[in-house]
């Protein structure tokens, strides 16, 4: 019998190295990716991500965690593992698949980050993919009848658009006009970010085949509608309720796309020379009534702030997923933030670029990382999103470019540079 003691465990900082994404496409038969497989999308994203970091030997990747909401067909078969193999990572690199609906990629990040923090992994690839054209939300799902018989959820809570209408009901001052205005500004902010080159560096070109048109190259998001005005969307149909307030203009469209991010322990980043874009401060998920699922970011953010010992006033940048404009407004309203606060989604959001469910979490992080680099005066930012069936998820990040940066290595406590 051995008497040897295990090596002592100590927690390590987790850093976000870089995130990339495919251009987002319209989830329709005439969309960019209509003839492109979902797994090919995420494989191309992962390959590009790894190509950007020649300083990282493939065998140093300890985990590939890939999310998808509908894990069947070309999104099935344990995505993380298949993606690692298809992307050309060594066979020794393990992988797994993740599902928390819209927060899939965010959960891929937080789950692997927990592993990094406790020493299970040094470097991970985390991301998500959703080809909503091939896998419509909830397709083939078989909800337990008890949900209805025991009234566990309102039958309509499974329809995300209806939950958005419910938010309008609950917060009557969050009017359709405010939602439309927010949506129009999302389009405008995106157009400006694109023109400034703030959107673009993170995009991975994808060769797309069309039987009708031949091969092409996807290099830009397909969904944004630059120049959208309040007048233009004022009279759109309200598909979820007659006389409702939620329209195609103030909601995110159905989207195909994939995202991938590289995370590492702070020490490993220093060892390998991986650049550090963000340090993870805290993360939390929380549940709410499924019939107002869009409210999820509020309790999740409260929980994360409490963990970090920070207040909402400490947060200098917000990347909040725009599943629906009203759901973002409910978050801002709760914290007393103005609808047009410039700290919120500076590059626009999902209403403009789209929301490929399980991919979006890493998109938020990727954009926050870009903003951190451009805004060294901001110390903390959050990424947050709502999740179907009544959840929210929030991750708080620290900007390594900030003067008071905490550092991310265990050996040199206050390294200021990455």
């Amino acid at each position: 019998m051995t008497t040897r003691n295990p090596a002592p465990r100590r927690l390590r900082d987790v850093v976000f190295v870089e995130g990339v994404r495919t251009p987002f496409g319209k989830a329709r038969p005439d969309g960019l990716y209509a003839e492109t497989r979902a797994d090919d999308l995420i494989v191309k994203a992962v390959r590009d991500l790894l190509r950007r970091h020649p300083e990282l030997p493939g065998e140093r990747v300890d985990e590939v965690a890939i999310a998808a909401t509908t894990q069947q067909g070309d999104q099935g078969l344990t995505l993380g593992r298949t993606v690692g193999m298809l992307a050309g990572l060594p066979r020794t690199v393990p992988g797994f698949a993740i599902d928390r609906m819209c927060a899939g990629a965010m959960t891929a990040v937080t789950t692997t980050a927990a592993g990094i923090a406790t020493g299970s992994a040094d470097v991970v690839v985390a991301g998500g993919v959703e080809h909503m054209g091939r896998h419509p939300m909830g397709f083939d799902a078989d909800p337990n009848p008890r949900f209805l018989s025991e009234k566990l959820v309102d039958p309509e809570a499974l329809n995300m658009g209806v939950t958005a209408e419910n938010l309008h009901d609950r917060f009557p001052h969050l009017t359709k006009e405010r939602a439309d205005a927010f949506a129009v500004s999302s389009q405008a902010k995106y157009a400006k970010a694109l023109a400034n080159g703030d959107v673009g560096p993170e995009l991975v070109p994808v060769a797309v085949r069309s039987t009708e048109q031949g091969w092409g190259l996807a290099t830009a998001d397909e969904l944004p509608r630059p120049g959208t005005t309040v007048e233009a969307i004022a009279n759109l149909k309200t598909p979820f309720r007659p006389g409702g307030r939620v329209t195609a203009g103030n909601a995110s469209p159905l989207t195909d796309g994939a995202t991938a991010a590289l995370l590492a322990s702070g020490d490993t980043a220093a060892e390998l020379g991986l650049p550090v874009a963000m340090r993870m401060v805290a993360s939390a998920f929380a549940g709410v009534d499924p019939s107002i699922m869009g409210y999820g970011p509020v309790p999740a953010t409260d929980k994360a702030l409490a963990q970090a010992g920070l207040g909402i006033e400490d947060i200098g940048l917000f990347e909040i997923n725009e599943a629906f404009a009203v759901q973002v407004l409910s978050f801002l309203d709760h914290y007393g933030i103005a609808d047009d606060d410039e700290r919120v989604n500076p590059y626009g959001g999902a209403i403009a670029m789209g929301h490929p469910l399980a991919s979006s979490g890493v998109r938020l992080m990727t954009q926050l990382a870009h903003q951190f680099a451009a805004r060294p005066e901001v110390r903390y930012g959050i990424t947050t999103m709502c999740v179907g069936l009544g959840q929210g998820g929030t991750v708080i990040w620290e900007n390594p470019h900030h003067a008071d940066y905490s550092g991310h290595t265990t050996s040199t406590p206050a390294s200021k540079e990455s």
Partner: protein, 719 residues
Amino acid sequence: MTQNDTTTAGTDARAERVTHSLVRDVELPGGAGTLALVTLDNGLDHTKPNTLGPEGMAELTATLTALRERAGRGEIAAVGVTGKPYFLAAGADLLQVSTVTSHEQALELGRSGHAAYELLHTMGVPTFAFVGGLALGGGLEIALNCDYRTVSSDAPALGLPETGLGLVPGWGGAYLVPRLIGIEKAVDVILTRPAAQKPFKAAEALDIGLVDELFPAADFLEQSILWASRVLRGDVVVQRRELDPQPVWDAVVAATRQRLDAVVAGSRPAPGRALDLMADARTATRAEAFAAEDRALADLIMSDEMRASVYAFQLVSGGKKPAGAPSADLARPVTRVGIVGAGLMAAQIALLVSQRLGVPVVMRDLDTERVEKGLGYVRSTVEKLVSRGRMAPEAAARITASVTGTTEIREFASCDVVVEAVTEVMGLKKKVFAELEDVVSEDTILATNTSALSITEMASGLRRPERVVGIHFFNPVAQMPLVEVVRAERTSDEALATAFAVTKKLRKTAVLVKDRPGFVVNRLLVLVMGKVVEAIENGTAVEVADTALAPLGFPMPTFELFDLVGPAVGLHVLTSLREDLGDRFPASPGLERLVSDGTRVVLDRPAPGMPKPVDPAIQGVFGEALDAGATGRHGTPVLDAAGVLDSVLTALTVEVGHMLDEGVVAAPQQIDLCMILGAGWGFHTGGITPYLDRTGYSTKVLDRRLLPDGVANVPENVA
């Protein structure tokens, strides 16, 4: 070349599967401008490769012409050409090519391709080929006519197979390849590889210089487009080699010519025509060279050799679905296989069965020494394969463990199929089957690998003769693609279906034959040997007789073939066929003497790639050589080389006539398939029946054609 789904070449070919030229603009990164990306796509799935016919070529010409205008207006910075998934293009549509009925039409076929591809040279902006998959013949030539080429790591085949099909790479290949990669490598690409039917893999193509860059398949097109933009910006410079000096060029051409004279020996025109084009490629202008390619292509398209090659190619492609096989549903599941005997043939079969069927195999011989020898062969062969990197150690371990030996016949009790491969003695084989029947289960299939004995007789003493079927392998078993599956008089559909199922899993082409002596391959091959030796017995010099068949372009001269199969085996089959079929299979005391003395009949190769000549010293056993035309030892005139050839062709025609009358196979096509795959007779002969038809032997000897006019030749009423 092209795949197709018919097994019979017909003059009424199906409509063209048009390969479309789709164009999309791609904005290149780094401000390199717009790339007009042409996708070649026939709109069909991966089982139907892109091929190039007149309509598709016209569309490509129109597309490239429009792009040249755009380039002229400064709208595009480059043109890229790629294919649908897994294919660039498999080349010209051969079925279409073989329906051409006039020299003028054939000339037009070459010209139309050149006209399209010439646009890639005069585009005014750089042209790129992104070879994302298979690129053969005219398909690869699209890429060769571009300024730059990338290839995907998973492209399974790049090559110019034309000279193996009776053509030349006539859409620029014969001119561009030697200039691009040097004359010596060009000979490999245009002559050597096609003869061996071995196209290049992606990495090999990069290595030899046929392409400039290789990118992993996972994001091949993305990386290719990125690379193109770097080339356009000048960040990447592709170095082209200087043309080989004229003396080097001439020396390689001369050496190649010498080899062709010895090996091809005028049996078919294509290799020589290709070499002519390559010889001139160093100094000719592109226009001159393309015009010469047009002429060569037209002449060859209107040649019987080319038509027979297309016929042969289609036979071989279609041969994977055997004609006349019973429903595969009748096949018995095979979970354990027994081999009776542990000699060389038995051990080769055991190894192949273990490798491809993945089931336990037990070999049985009379004593442990023989059994050990058979197992030793299996072990040493897999070890060799592992050391050459051709087999994984795990696969070797599985095979070594799953092939076992025994001296006990009871070990066959649980076998689903037992193959006998013992000495070719009827009494012995009958005894083996009788013993087996007492041991195996009711429905075990008994197969024999006999090459000349009657299977019906072999099965006659059994309680259940219907379980006996012939599975005739050729030596060496691993390399020879043909198996003759023999239906004896009582053979059941179940036994036959099982034999076909097994041979399919062994990845052999199976041909259904009737239980007649020598089946197809041995009957004709041994007849040829017998007639050559008969001429020598009569007085023809051995050197004259040995090379008399050169105009047929057989894989080797007659005595080298004897040496390969073993004179004893050849003599045994010859004797056995004479006993069964009569004096058409001549007796040869000289040959018997060579076998009993164990004399080697050939000399060493004079140079690599050259045939082994007959050893003139063996003349002695036949008696001295007499002058051609003099009265020979048999009382008939001594034959010269042409006379020997005539005698052989006459005998072959007679024999083929008998075989068809006897119903050895259902149709002449099966004889041809057998001779191509079992004897290596060249595509240009179409096997044998097209050759007998076009040389008039079938009409002269049998008073009928073997195949309808036009099936494997240029139809008489045209040209």
